[in-house]
C-alpha cells in the first residue's frame, strides 16, 4: 500500500522533461510553475489532446500525463 507521501505527487512529462507535481495539479498549475503568466500566446496539449485555454484549470492531471506547452516561433 502506498504511503500518503507517495500519493501526494504525480510524475508527468512537461515538454518531454520529467517533472513532479503535487497531486491534484492542473495545466494552469503547470504554467504557473513555469513562470508563465501570459497564457494568451500559448497552446497546451495533454496526452496529445488540446486543453482549451478556458479550461486549463479544470482538469486534474494524472500520473504519467504528457503535457506540451507550445508557442509560435519563426518559420517559413
Amino acid at each position: 500500500m502506498s504511503t500518503e507521501a507517495e500519493q501526494a505527487v504525480i510524475h508527468v512529462r512537461i515538454n518531454g522533461e520529467a517533472a513532479q507535481l503535487p497531486a491534484g495539479a492542473s495545466c494552469a498549475d503547470v504554467l504557473a510553475r513555469l513562470g508563465i503568466t501570459e497564457q494568451r500566446r500559448l497552446a497546451v496539449e495533454r496526452n496529445e489532446q488540446i486543453v482549451p485555454r478556458s479550461r486549463l484549470a479544470e482538469q486534474e492531471l494524472a500520473d504519467g500525463d504528457r503535457i506540451e506547452v507550445i508557442q509560435a516561433i519563426g518559420g517559413g
Binding site: I14, L34, I36, A43, V44, I70, G74, G75, G76
Partner: protein, 262 residues
C-alpha cells in the same frame, strides 16, 4: 493607375501577393523590419515547444508580427506524418483563438524536404473535414495539385525548387499546367532565390509567391524584402499586360517606311 487586383484566399482579399516566413532571422527586430519592407500581409509561423526555463517575459514572435496586423499562417514544418500535421494544426487553432487558416506541409525526406504527397492528401482531407482552411505545400505535380483542389484546399502551393535551395523555378511546364488547370490560388512556395525568380513565377500566372530563406538569408534582408516586393509586383503586372511572343529573328521597332536615304 494601378488596377484593383486583389488576391482572394478563402473569401478574404489581400493587396500583397507576397507571403513571407519568419524563420532564420538574426532577431525579432530584423524579422519585423524585413516583413514590413516586403509589404506582406500573410506571414507564416512555426509551432514549437515553449522554451522552458527561459525568461517568460522574453519577446515573443507574436509581438514582432501581431495577429491584429498580419494574417498569420501557422505551418506544419517538421511534420513527417499525417498525425503530427493534424496535431500541429489543432494546436495552431488553439494558439490563435480559433483561426482556421493553416499551411499544410508533410515532409517526406530530410535531404530534399520534398512533400510526401500521399500523406499531404490524407492530412488535407482530414483538416478540411475539421473546418480548417488549408493552404497545401506540394510538389510541382499537376495531378497532385488538382487532387488538393478537389479535396477543398483554399490554395495550392507547389514548390519552385527544394526548400531553402534558392534554385528558382525548375519546372516551368508543370507550373504552367497547374496554373492553367486550377481555380483556387496557386502560390509558388519554396525554392526561389532572388527577385527575378519571383518575377518569373508571377509571369507564369501564379497568384502569389511564398518565401522565407531568400529574404532572411540575404546579406541585407530588409533590402531583399523590398526587392522581392517589387519582383512580385513587376511579374504580376507583366503577366496581366500580356507579353509579346518570343521569336528567333529581329523585328525592327522603328518604321521601315519613310527613311530618307536613297
Amino acid at each position: 493607375m494601378p488596377h484593383r487586383d486583389p488576391l482572394v484566399i478563402a473569401g478574404r482579399e489581400y493587396h500583397s501577393r507576397l507571403l513571407v516566413g519568419t524563420g532564420k532571422y538574426r532577431d525579432l527586430e530584423q524579422a519585423g523590419a524585413a516583413i514590413e519592407a516586403s509589404g506582406a500581409e500573410i506571414v507564416t509561423i512555426a509551432l514549437r515547444r515553449s522554451n522552458i526555463g527561459q525568461d517568460p517575459d522574453a519577446p515573443n514572435l507574436l509581438d514582432a508580427v501581431p495577429p491584429e496586423r498580419y494574417t498569420l499562417l501557422p505551418n506544419t514544418a517538421g511534420c513527417y506524418t499525417v498525425k503530427d500535421a493534424l496535431r500541429t494544426c489543432r494546436l495552431a487553432r488553439e494558439l490563435l483563438d480559433g483561426h482556421n487558416l493553416v499551411k499544410l506541409e508533410v515532409i517526406g525526406d530530410e535531404r530534399t524536404l520534398y512533400p510526401d504527397v500521399g500523406a499531404t492528401l490524407e492530412a488535407a482531407e482530414q483538416l478540411v473535414a475539421e473546418g480548417f482552411e488549408v493552404m497545401a505545400y506540394t510538389s510541382d505535380d499537376p495531378i497532385a495539385a488538382r487532387r488538393l483542389e478537389e479535396i477543398g484546399c483554399v490554395a495550392v502551393m507547389p514548390l519552385a525548387a527544394p526548400i531553402g535551395s534558392g534554385l528558382g523555378i525548375q519546372n516551368s511546364y508543370n507550373l504552367l499546367e497547374i496554373v492553367e488547370r486550377l481555380e483556387v490560388p496557386v502560390i509558388v512556395d519554396a525554392g526561389v532565390g532572388t527577385a527575378s525568380d519571383v518575377a518569373v513565377a508571377m509571369e507564369h500566372g501564379c497568384d502569389a509567391v511564398l518565401l522565407n530563406t531568400a529574404i532572411a538569408g540575404a546579406d541585407d534582408p530588409v533590402l531583399m524584402a523590398s526587392a522581392m516586393r517589387k519582383g512580385v509586383e513587376a511579374g504580376r503586372e507583366a503577366y496581366r499586360a500580356g507579353r509579346i511572343p518570343k521569336r528567333r529573328h529581329a523585328a525592327a521597332s522603328s518604321p521601315q517606311a519613310g527613311t530618307f536615304f536613297e
